[in-house]
C-alpha cells in the first residue's frame, strides 16, 4: 500500500513540505488540509495589496488545488483538523462548508498550522472596521473597506513590522494613520536608536506615532468603530488595525500530547521531529534554535518557514543522513516609505541579556560610490563579542540598499566569523554597486579599532541621557556652515582644521565628546586631541547622521 502523508496547514510551510515531499517520494499519497479558502498565498505581500502596490487579487493567490493536483498532491480547502489521535495515526477533520466529518489516516503527519494574531482583550474589538491582518481574506476585507467605505482615518495598534507596513500602505492611499505602541519604541526587536530613526522617518511621512501608550478600548457608533481610547488620549478613527503580535497556533498539537516549547510553539529537534514518532512540525507553529546563543527561540518568518518545510520533507523517508536546520538568526528586512531597515542576529539588548561582554559601533556610509548618481546613505550598527571578536548581530537603516549588507552580516555570523574576517572579505565593487571600501568593511574596521582601544565611543542614547551633565563638554568639529544647520544640544563648534590652534578652549579635566557628520573627522580630531593631552575623550557613535533625537 502507498505511504500516506497528511499535512495540516496550507500556506507557506505546509505547501513547501508537500511540494518537496512529492519530488523526493513520487509514490507518496499526500493530502494537505487547510481551513482557509485559499492555499499557498503570499502572506508577506498582503500589506502591499492593501496599498494597491500589488494590484490584483490573483497575484497573491497564484496557486489553487487544481495546480497541486497536477503535482500529485490533494488539497482540501475549508477543512479543519479537529483532533489528532497518534495511537491510531489518524486526523479527524470537518468540512467547514458542509459540516461533514472526515478521517485522514496517515503514516507521516506534518503540522504546519502557523500562527494567529494576538487580539487584545479590550472592549470594542467586535465592532465593524476593526481588523487583524494575517490571512488573504483579512487583506481583501481591509482593502475593500478602504476602497468602498472611504476610510479617512485609521489607527494601527502595535508597531511591529506588519503594523508599520500597513501604516505605510494606508498612508500611501491617502488615509491619515496614527500608530499606537505600548513599548517605548516601535520595531521591538531592534535597538532603540535604530527604532527611533525609523520613527522619525514615519513622522516625516505624516504618520502620527505614540509610543509608551496603551490601547484601552474601541468606541463605536451604529456598530462601527469611531475612535480608539488609550491611556493618554482619544484618537478618532474609522478603521482600527490590531497588530500587536502573533502567537503559535498549537491547540491541536497540545491536544494530541505533542510537547510545546518556547512561547508555546511546538518543540522540534533540528530534523523538525516532534516528541511523537512520525509527527513533524514546521513553520510558524514550531520553535527554532537561535544560531548565536544555541538556545530555543521563535522566529515566525516566511523565510524560515520554507526552510523548515524542506527539512521535514527530506526527513520523512531519509535516504542516508537526516537533513537538519541547526538554527536561524531572525534576519528581517522591512521597507518604510523611503527607508529600509534590516536586522540579523542579536541586538545589543539580546546580547547583554545573553551575558555577552560586547562593543557596538554605529557607522554611516554610502551604499555605493558617493559620486555615483543615486548614492544613498545607510547606517550600520554592529554588535561584537569582546572576548572572541565574533560578530553577534547587525542592524542597518537608511535610504540606500540594506539587504545586501545585512545578508553579508548574516553570512559572517552563520559561519562564526569575527570582525577581522568581515573586514577582509573580498566584496564586489564598481561605483554603481558599492564603494571601494564597502560600508560593511568600514563598519568592521571601526569595530576593530574600538576593540584595539584606538578609540572610545559614546552611543547616542548614552549621550542623550547625559546632555545636562555639567562634567561633559561636547565639541562639534564640522565646518561652521554644517554646525549652523543643526547640532547636538549644547555642542560648541571647533572645526577640525582649527582644532590644533584652538585646543586651549577645551577643558582637559572634563570629559569630552567630539562629533562630526559620520565619525571620520571626529576620529581625526580625537587623535589630535589625545596627542595634545585631552584624556577623557569619546567620539559620538554615528555622528549627527545617526542622532535620532532633535538637533538644535
Amino acid at each position: 500500500m502507498k505511504q500516506r502523508l497528511v499535512v495540516i496547514g496550507g500556506v507557506a510551510s505546509g505547501t513547501k513540505t508537500a511540494a518537496k515531499a512529492i519530488r523526493e517520494n513520487p509514490d507518496l499519497e499526500i493530502t494537505v488540509i487547510t481551513e482557509e479558502d485559499y492555499i499557498s498565498y503570499a502572506g508577506c505581500g498582503l500589506p502591499y495589496y492593501i496599498g494597491n502596490v500589488i494590484r490584483d487579487k490573483k497575484h497573491l493567490t497564484v496557486m489553487n488545488p487544481e495546480k497541486f493536483k497536477e503535482k500529485g498532491i490533494t488539497v482540501l480547502l475549508h477543512t479543519r483538523a479537529e483532533k489528532i489521535i497518534p495511537s491510531q495515526k489518524v486526523v479527524k477533520a470537518k468540512d467547514m462548508v458542509t459540516g461533514e466529518e472526515k478521517e485522514f489516516p496517515y503514516d507521516k503527519l506534518v503540522l504546519a498550522t502557523g500562527a494567529k494574531p494576538i487580539v487584545p482583550p479590550i472592549p470594542g474589538i467586535e465592532l465593524k472596521n476593526v481588523y487583524v491582518l494575517r490571512s488573504v481574506t483579512d487583506a481583501f476585507k481591509i482593502r475593500d473597506a478602504v476602497e468602498k467605505e472611504g476610510i479617512k482615518k485609521a489607527v494601527v495598534v502595535g508597531g511591529g513590522f506588519i503594523g508599520l507596513e500597513v501604516a505605510e500602505n494606508l498612508t500611501l492611499r491617502g488615509v491619515k494613520v496614527t500608530l499606537v505602541e505600548l513599548l517605548d519604541q516601535i520595531l521591538p526587536n531592534f535597538d532603540k536608536e535604530i527604532a527611533l530613526l525609523a520613527e522619525k522617518h514615519l513622522k516625516e511621512k505624516g504618520v502620527e506615532v505614540f509610543t509608551s501608550e496603551k490601547a484601552l478600548s474601541i468606541e463605536g457608533k451604529d456598530g462601527k468603530a469611531t475612535a480608539l481610547l488609550t491611556d493618554k488620549r482619544k484618537i478618532d478613527a474609522d478603521m482600527v488595525l490590531l497588530s500587536i503580535g502573533v502567537k503559535p497556533d498549537t491547540q491541536l498539537a497540545a491536544g494530541a500530547g505533542i510537547e510545546l516549547g518556547i512561547k508555546g510553539a511546538i518543540k522540534v529537534n533540528e530534523n523538525m521531529e516532534t516528541n511523537i514518532h512520525d509527527i513533524y512540525a514546521v513553520g510558524d507553529c514550531a520553535e527554532n534554535i537561535n544560531l548565536v546563543t544555541g538556545k530555543p527561540a521563535w522566529f515566525p518568518m516566511g523565510s524560515t518557514a520554507n526552510k523548515m518545510g524542506r527539512v521535514a520533507a527530506l526527513n520523512l523517508y531519509p535516504k542516508g543522513e537526516k537533513e537538519s536546520l541547526e538554527g536561524v538568526l531572525g534576519t528581517t528586512v522591512v521597507k518604510l516609505f523611503d527607508i529600509n531597515v534590516a536586522k540579523t542576529g542579536l541586538s545589543e539588548k539580546d546580547a547583554k541579556n545573553a551575558g555577552y561582554n560586547i562593543i557596538t559601533v554605529i557607522v554611516p556610509a554610502h551604499d555605493r560610490a558617493h559620486y555615483y548618481p543615486g548614492a544613498k546613505n545607510i547606517i550600520t550598527k554592529l554588535i561584537v563579542d569582546k572576548a572572541t571578536h565574533r560578530l553577534l548581530g547587525a542592524q542597518i537603516i537608511g535610504e540606500g540598499v540594506v539587504d545586501k549588507p545585512i545578508d553579508i552580516a548574516a553570512t559572517v555570523i552563520t559561519l562564526k566569523g569575527t570582525v577581522e574576517d568581515m573586514a577582509k572579505l573580498d566584496l564586489a565593487y564598481a561605483p554603481p554597486f558599492s564603494s571601494a571600501m564597502s560600508s560593511t568593511i568600514v563598519a568592521a574596521n571601526v569595530a576593530r579599532n574600538k576593540l584595539l582601544g584606538k578609540l572610545e565611543g559614546i552611543s547616542p542614547l548614552e549621550l542623550k541621557d547625559r546632555l545636562s551633565d555639567p562634567e561633559l563638554q561636547i565639541i562639534d568639529v564640522r565646518e561652521e556652515a554644517e554646525y549652523l544647520v543643526g547640532t547636538i544640544p549644547g555642542a560648541r563648534n571647533i572645526p577640525l582644521k582649527e582644532i590644533r590652534q584652538r585646543a586651549g578652549e577645551i577643558d582637559k579635566q572634563r570629559e569630552t565628546v567630539v562629533l562630526c557628520k559620520i565619525g571620520l573627522r571626529a576620529y581625526l580630531a580625537y587623535i589630535t586631541l589625545k596627542h595634545l593631552g585631552v584624556q577623557k575623550l569619546k567620539i559620538l557613535d554615528g555622528g549627527v547622521t545617526a542622532w535620532p533625537f532633535e538637533l538644535e
Binding site: H370, Y371, P373, G374, A375, K376, N377, E399, R478, E479, E480, A481, E482, L484, V485, G486, C516, K517, I518, L520, R521, T545
Partner: protein, 73 residues
C-alpha cells in the same frame, strides 16, 4: 544682481552646504546662488540652513541631482 553657480555634485564630507556657505559669504546682498548637489542630506540641510541664517530659499528641486536657489539676504 549676479547669479552664481556652484557644482557641488559628488562632494563627500563636508559637502555642499559648506560650498554654499562660502559662496554666500563672498556674494553681494541680493545675489542668487544656485547649488547642484547629489548628497541626499543637502535637501533637508539647505532648508534648515536658510531658516537659521535668514537667506531666502527661492526654490528647491529634489531628484538624483538636488538643485537649490538661494538669495543672499
Amino acid at each position: 544682481m549676479a547669479e552664481i553657480k556652484i557644482d557641488a555634485k559628488c562632494l563627500q564630507c563636508p559637502g555642499p552646504i559648506v560650498q554654499l556657505f562660502n559662496a554666500v559669504k563672498s556674494a553681494q546682498s541680493g545675489d542668487v546662488i544656485v547649488v547642484e548637489a547629489t548628497d541626499r542630506g543637502f535637501y533637508k540641510d539647505v532648508q534648515a540652513w536658510c531658516k537659521k541664517t535668514g537667506n531666502e530659499l527661492l526654490s528647491l528641486e529634489d531628484g538624483d541631482v538636488i538643485v537649490a536657489r538661494v538669495k543672499k539676504a
